[in-house]
Amino acid sequence: MAERIRIRMYHVGFGDCLLITFPDDKHMLIDCGVHLQDSDDMIRPTVDNIKDVTNGRIHVVVGTHYHYDHICGFGKEADTFNAMTADEVWLPWTVDQSIPAVRAAFNAEKQLMRVLEARSDPRLEEFKLMAVSNKDSLGTLKGLWGGLRPRLRFLPEEEGLSLETDSIPGMTVQFIGPLRDNPYLSKGDPGKDSYLADMENAEQDGRSSPFDEDWIIRAEQAYNQFPTLKGKAPLEYNDLLDDFLSASGVKLNNSSLIMLIRYGGAAMLFPGDAEYGAWLDAYESTDLQAQLGDINLLKVSHHASYNGTPASLIDNMDWFVSMVSTKTIPSYPKIPKETLMEELDSHGPLIRSDSPPTEKKHYSKHSVVPGDFWTDVRLKWSGVS
């Protein structure tokens, strides 16, 4: 009898939510979230479906990194999750606050938040949701499940990159990232407190001008004087915060848990939102490259952004199913990257949540089964692995 693994990708929009069901009804949930700019209508039915499918018991829950579009579901549907049980919760070590560098990064974020607050910056709300104070979601993840405390693990653990667990027997997970000795991640604290201090200083001035009112001219006068302006302000209010926010976003993505999951004859790569830097680390410090040929399923990183999937990764992979959880939203008009899609398509079946398959399809090693608001991939193999 052939064995099967089912990978269910929920069509949450710009976000990630994947449920893997191993033989013997063992379940692993990887992320549950959707971007703030995206409608969140699908989170509730998604979580309900997870509850139905798993019978209220998830063996391993994974939060790859604490970006809103990956974990907000745990906060929004906390009640449902609280009523379920989980055996283990996996988070990247980069959110383990017992590590001083992590604490420092969290503190830097708090400082940044104070600056945002001081100026009533509209980005504050979004940043809060992405940042450490995303307590709702992290709280659910780290809290009680069905009244019990699951085993909370920060990964990869000190002991090594490979992990087997009794919660899902037969599964081996190799952590490709985030590596504990990564020098860049430990730089979570920008060490530029002085700049942030300068910002706070500037904020006291609000948007007042340093010059006497006599020198100020009306915008229309300026447009008249400088036709090259074409009637609009040439610069936007852009400051340290923009860049800091963007840099901290990349850092967070690169701290995603990257998991190479093997079970029987299946090898699946779940990289969270890893961006280019994380892949390079992986190339250098793990044997990922030697294993690329084995992989038969890839969850495409970072909603198929321009640098979430290096060309060399795909080049060295053989035939594989790619699953892309994506949608174009106003902030990221260039996601998904169509040239990347073409390349993925040439390596095997490509399943995208923004245009999901509508018909059942059976291949020799897997089948694709469309659902109400999800797509299932069933990987199968026969005999002993």
């Binding site: 860049y184 730089k187 920008p190 700049y195 300068d198 200083n201 500037a202 001035d205 948007r207 007042s208 001008s209 340093p210 010059f211 006497d212 020198w215 100020i216 001219i217 009306r218 915008a219 006068q221 300026a222 004087q225 400088f226 090259t228 302006l229 302000a233 040439p234 610069l235 936007e236 209010y237 852009n238 400051d239 340290l240 963007s246 840099a247 901290s248 976003g249 990349v250 850092k251 993505n253 690169n254 961006e275 280019y276 830097g277 390079l280 970072h302 952004s305 321009y306 640098n307 999937t309 290096p310 060309a311 902030s331 990221y332 260039k334 996601i335 990257k337 040239t339 990347l340 390349e343």
Partner: protein, 573 residues
Amino acid sequence: MVMKSPIKPVRSPAIRRLRIYAIDPLIAAFENQVVTVEIPWEDLRPGPVSEYIEVIDYDPCADKYYSPVNLEDPNLLAQDGHQPSESDPRFHQQMAYAVVMATHARFERALGRNVRMHGKRGRRIKLRIYPHGTREPNAFYSGGMGALIFGYFRASKTAYGRNLPGGTIFTCLSHDVVAHETTHGILHGLRRRSLEPSGPDVYAFHEAFADIVAILQRFSLPGFLEQAIQRTGAKLDTPDPLFDLGRQFGEAIGRRGALRSAIGKDPDPGALSGIYEPHARGAILVAAVFDALVTIYKRRTGDLLRLAGGGTAALPRGDLAPDLVGRLASEARRAAKHFLNICIRAIDYCPPLDIQFGDYLRAVITADREIVPNDPLNYRTAIIDAFRKRGIYPENVFSLAEDSLILQPPRGKLDTAGFKLDAVRFDRASRPDTKERKKEWNQYARLYTALFKKPRNIRAFGLDRDRPVQLASVQPLQRISPDGRIINELVVQALQQGDGIFARKEPPYHRGGCTLIVNQSGKVRYCAVKELKSAEREERQRSFLRDLESAGLLAGMGSEYREPDFRMIHRGW
């Protein structure tokens, strides 16, 4: 009937005089607070707006426009512009304009041709200048915006130099900052791809070059060197005053602690292997140039000091005679002027992209030998020596002798049939009309065919035969031959594009290319090449990009890779 006016028109003057602050708002280092600079005359509209630049005083943080200065106002013409004032934004505009144009004039003089500003995708643009473009302790050039953006900020509450604690500091009122940023902009125009992050030397070189131009230009401010020399007169038999000035400059730029620790200190031949932060790494190059300058200054002033000392090694006590100060200052100024000229001209001899310190050394030596073949004061030895002491070597040269450092002609025999130098006009109109532009393009096409449409040449230039060659720029290069004739040559830059670094068909790309110096008869005299098919270069670029990304310097989530500007780098991130 129209009466002819009995008043005959007067020709425009050659220069415009404008007052600027000589002290730096970040450090008070100069007693004479106001100096008048002379810049080439051009007709100005309020702004000022000229053919090359437009100063637009929009303050996005306050969302306000400030009244533009009208430098053509007779009341201003009669008194060399506005009286320096921190509280009048019109003076800020005037000072930014004056220093930008003074720097620009320096480049045109050194290169002997029009120097255009270039923006996105190499288009000719008017460089925008925003004297109050951001509210942070930063000033930067942005290639994407084609603009220089100067910030202003509150000084820290604890006393800082001569500044009012908590007072507002404007970076556009610093000669050094403005000259530095302008140099970034001009260099980007001359070497469009040279800003692509292909290795640790790239940004460091840009920072160092901008510092070199700014420091050497400051030396030319009237009265500047005299005051410095008078002040430190007692130590005049040592090169201390010049070193001091270099270090002070580092301080003025504020964030450059690096210059202070590099200039005039014992050089460390292993320094380059461990320092990657652009300013710190760039400081090593600045220190090398400075070191050579001081050596030359000593050579030039040895006789004066011997005369003044009456045969003893010591100078008389007390104030130095003004004559002596004047002579010493003028020697220092001449040496600085020569260095500035060589440093700028060397750009023409650099490869079109991925410039490493060693490439620059070769370019400097080659440029200098082209102008002064016999080198009576041993400038070149001084330069080579200063670079060697800091471990700056070019790749693939046999020795550090002058002859090995000079750029080489292409390998093998070339076929340049069809090349005609007079096909390229040297007096290109700064704004050619359509017809002229078409003619220009035809000329380029002919040149391209003569040089690059031949497999033999491609091989000789070190280019990749499987990839198309793009003609990036053609510029005239004029020099005086040893026997006094004017020699016209061409600087031709060609580029090739390889695969993308992240994804095969996405930027950033791996690139190669070459710079050729071609003489009147079509002989390619020098070739500075960056080979496309170089695994070593590709690896360097990859690991460098990775560092940049880890530091958050590459664009964030989902956005296109963008041409990096200096905003983040100048913050020292």
